[in-house]
Amino acid sequence: MSSHPITILGIGNLVRQDEGVGIHLLRALEGKVAPEIGLIDGGTMGFPLLGIVEDAHKLLILDAVEAKRPPGDVVVWHGDDVPYFFASKMSVHQVSFAEILNLAKLNNAYPAHIAVVGIQPRTLDWGTELSDPVRQALPQAVICVQEILETWQNKNKRKKARNKTK
């Protein structure tokens, strides 16, 4: 298992502009989250992500999402909505992220807690710069991430507190 209580996995393609927002967001989080939280740049990988997903206790995924919203909108999914969302997301990779999640289930190694912070992209053209609305959305996305982390960490604390009182 991962040595980190929480794993944040950014996925996406840095050379396809807003497609890489998950990685940009991951980089924006550096130094802004507790040091015991694992930050992983999953890039465009397929099968090598399986180990990361299976090892995670609590997994927060950062990605560009097609949510039929205006560019730059930040969207959050929790729990069972996560695989449902990725299942509907078509992939041209050798293996889609939905399949990675399915494989983790098949191996009985699905994370106990899972969530996605997604940003609606404007352009997926070749390029390394984010579009304006997506770049401007990063601070809000950071706040979303921190809120989820707080909830997850408080659960941890409550659990520890309960254990102590026993």
């Binding site: 393609n13 397929g46 180990g51 999402v65 039929k68 293996v95 098949l106 992209p121 997926l124």
Partner: protein, 576 residues
């Protein structure tokens, strides 16, 4: 009556590929292979610091990040005249060999295997766990292999099928092209699941040397890790022991699971050996795994060469810097050269251009017109010939050059299958060559590891040559080529540097060779030729076509993965 078959996108590959063909008398003809996504990496790299190019190049693709980074740093080293330290060469070789083993095994079990293995049959009552156990024990001493284990696997598959969420196990089950006995299907699916766990381990080698995985770090001039056997923060004995352990695990898995499975499956499909998927039979390998220096091809563990028309008596040499040998053509691709859409000129990559010029039908379209542009893939040629690259090409060239390890492995396998050497030129041959290569790579990994330890023990801990790191030390203008043998075949990056910046950058990736469109003389690329005459029993279930295309391990290298949440179908098979 002829029907037009369209498969778009071809799934279980990296990237976005469309195949079209005419179905006549249950055979595929007039095949069209189209890369349907534009790759603009070359444009992104222009004007950047050459030392940073690898970080962008490795993002082209979701699979071969190591190989793109490696080709990129080698191109810069070639341009600047940098020799790397011995440790760096060995470590890069270890990373490349580990990538090959991971990639080949995952490709077989998780991407290509289900073209040969029927999951529904494995779940059926006809698949007997006791029989699967007996077969498993007869081909290997790998455990678990008892009947109870296979019964458990069968329960698991049934659970998935009954849940209605097949996911990765979606396929054309029951198709007549599936021929394995049900118990062998069960055995193979069990190993599909085991391979998922195993593949997580081998990639840890990349994390040791590259600092992290996925997307390990690279550096022009060497490798970005220091060696000190007694320091806990760098490459030390503890981490090297981890590498040794992962190599040993990989060797066991390849020798006791992957290869026995391949042979058991190949025996059943051996009659296809000479009839399916014979490609262009022109083979090319840039060569790789330098034992000494990248500039001495004679020192490569994987030899360089060209074989034309399957003639293994005559291996030719190739030169990546010769402007007349490797050229890319665009008459049937969506590009122009200097504004000329119909240019019949071939450009060597140093002078290559990436100017998109789409003249295809407006999407969504029913059919492509192969007399015009029909692909985002250019058409690379060697001395005017369409070439096949990849494990089979490397195998044919090594065999023809007299490499003893290759000859022994190939002869032994073909003898067991009762097939002649010519059977290599087929779908089955391609899949077999990949497995045999995985075995050679685990042996190479062991040797490389011992080489590394021996070299460190001489007191040499150098991993980085910094003499040309400062751009002030560079010539005003220079150019280079970086290459490697990626799992899927010969990969080349050509770079021109001017005033410390990238002036031009061109990559020819393995799949560009294999998926190439036609050239002006009508010569087709490797996929198009290989699918020609492939049988197709059921017109809306392209199992046979997928089997041949997957045997090349396509990697269209586009790596975009955001699309419609309404759930477009993963694959459309259109029959008209």
């Amino acid at each position: 009556m002829a029907q037009r078959i369209v498969v778009d996108p071809v799934t279980r590959i990296e990237g976005h590929l469309r195949m079209e063909a005419q179905l006549e008398d249950k055979r595929l003809r007039n095949v069209v292979s189209s890369g349907t996504i534009f790759r603009g990496l070359e444009i992104i790299l222009q004007g950047r610091d050459p030392r940073d190019a690898w970080a962008y190049a490795q993002r082209i693709c979701g699979v071969c990040t190591h190989t793109h980074a490696l080709a990129s740093i080698r191109s810069v080293e070639d341009a600047l005249g940098i020799d790397i330290p011995k440790n760096a060469n060995i470590i890069r070789n270890i990373m490349a060999a580990a990538q090959d083993v991971h990639d080949h095994t995952v490709h077989f079990y998780h991407l290509h295997g289900l073209d040969w293995i029927d999951v529904a049959s494995a779940a059926s009552n006809a698949a007997d766990p006791k029989e699967a156990s007996a077969i498993a024990q007869s081909i290997s001493d790998w455990s678990p292999n008892d009947a109870g284990y296979f019964a458990g696997i069968q329960e698991k598959i049934r659970g998935i099928i009954n849940s209605g969420r097949l996911g990765v196990f979606t396929g054309y089950w029951g198709h007549p092209a599936y021929k394995l006995p049900p118990s062998v299907n069960l055995l193979a699916v069990a190993h599909y699941i085991e391979a998922l766990d195993w593949q997580k381990e081998i990639v840890k080698i990349h994390a040791v040397f590259g600092g992290k995985n996925p997307h390990p770090n690279y550096v022009v001039g060497g490798v970005p890790c220091s060696i000190n056997l007694h320091d806990s923060n760098v490459i030390n004995m503890e981490r090297l022991n981890l590498v040794a352990a992962k190599i040993a695990e990989a060797k066991r898995f390849v020798e006791k699971v992957y290869l026995p499975d391949i042979m058991a499956i190949a025996k059943v499909y051996a009659d296809e050996g000479e009839t399916w998927g014979k490609g262009v039979t022109n083979y090319m390998s840039f060569g790789d795994f330098p034992s000494e220096n990248i500039n001495h091809p004679d020192s490569f563990y994987v030899p360089r060469g060209i074989v034309l028309d399957g003639n293994m008596e005559d291996v030719r040499d190739l030169n990546l810097k010769d402007g007349s040998q490797i050229q890319e053509f665009i008459t049937h691709a969506w590009y122009n050269y200097r504004g000329d859409k119909s240019s019949k000129t071939g450009l060597h990559p140093w002078d290559g251009q990436t100017t998109p010029d789409y003249d295809g039908p407006k999407p969504p379209y029913d059919e492509l017109d192969p007399t015009k542009g029909y692909s985002w893939s250019k058409a690379p040629r060697w001395n005017g010939n369409a070439m096949e690259v990849g494990p089979l090409a490397r195998c044919v060239i090594a065999y023809a050059k007299g490499d003893a390890e290759t000859q022994e492995a190939v002869d032994d396998a073909l003898q067991q299958l009762n097939l002649p050497l010519s059977a290599l030129h087929s779908t089955l041959g391609r899949t077999l060559a990949r497995a045999l290569e995985a075995k050679q790579r685990v042996n190479l990994l062991e040797k490389l590891y011992n080489d590394l330890i021996a070299n460190i023990n001489t007191g040499d801990t150098s991993t980085f040559n910094k003499t040309k790191w400062d751009p002030e030390s560079w010539d005003k203008e220079c150019k280079g080529v970086g290459f490697c043998e990626a799992p899927r075949g010969s990969l080349g990056h050509w770079i021109k540097i001017k005033d410390k910046k990238i002036e031009n950058y061109q990559a020819i990736v393995p799949t560009t060779w294999n998926s190439s469109p036609r050239t002006a003389d009508g010569q087709q690329g490797a996929y198009e030729v290989a699918v020609q005459n492939t049988p197709m029993e059921v017109s809306d279930e392209p199992v046979e076509l997928l089997r041949t295309i997957h045997s090349y391990d396509p990697c269209i290298a586009c790596a975009t993965h955001l699309l419609d949440p309404d759930g477009k179908e993963l694959m459309t098979v259109k029959v008209k």
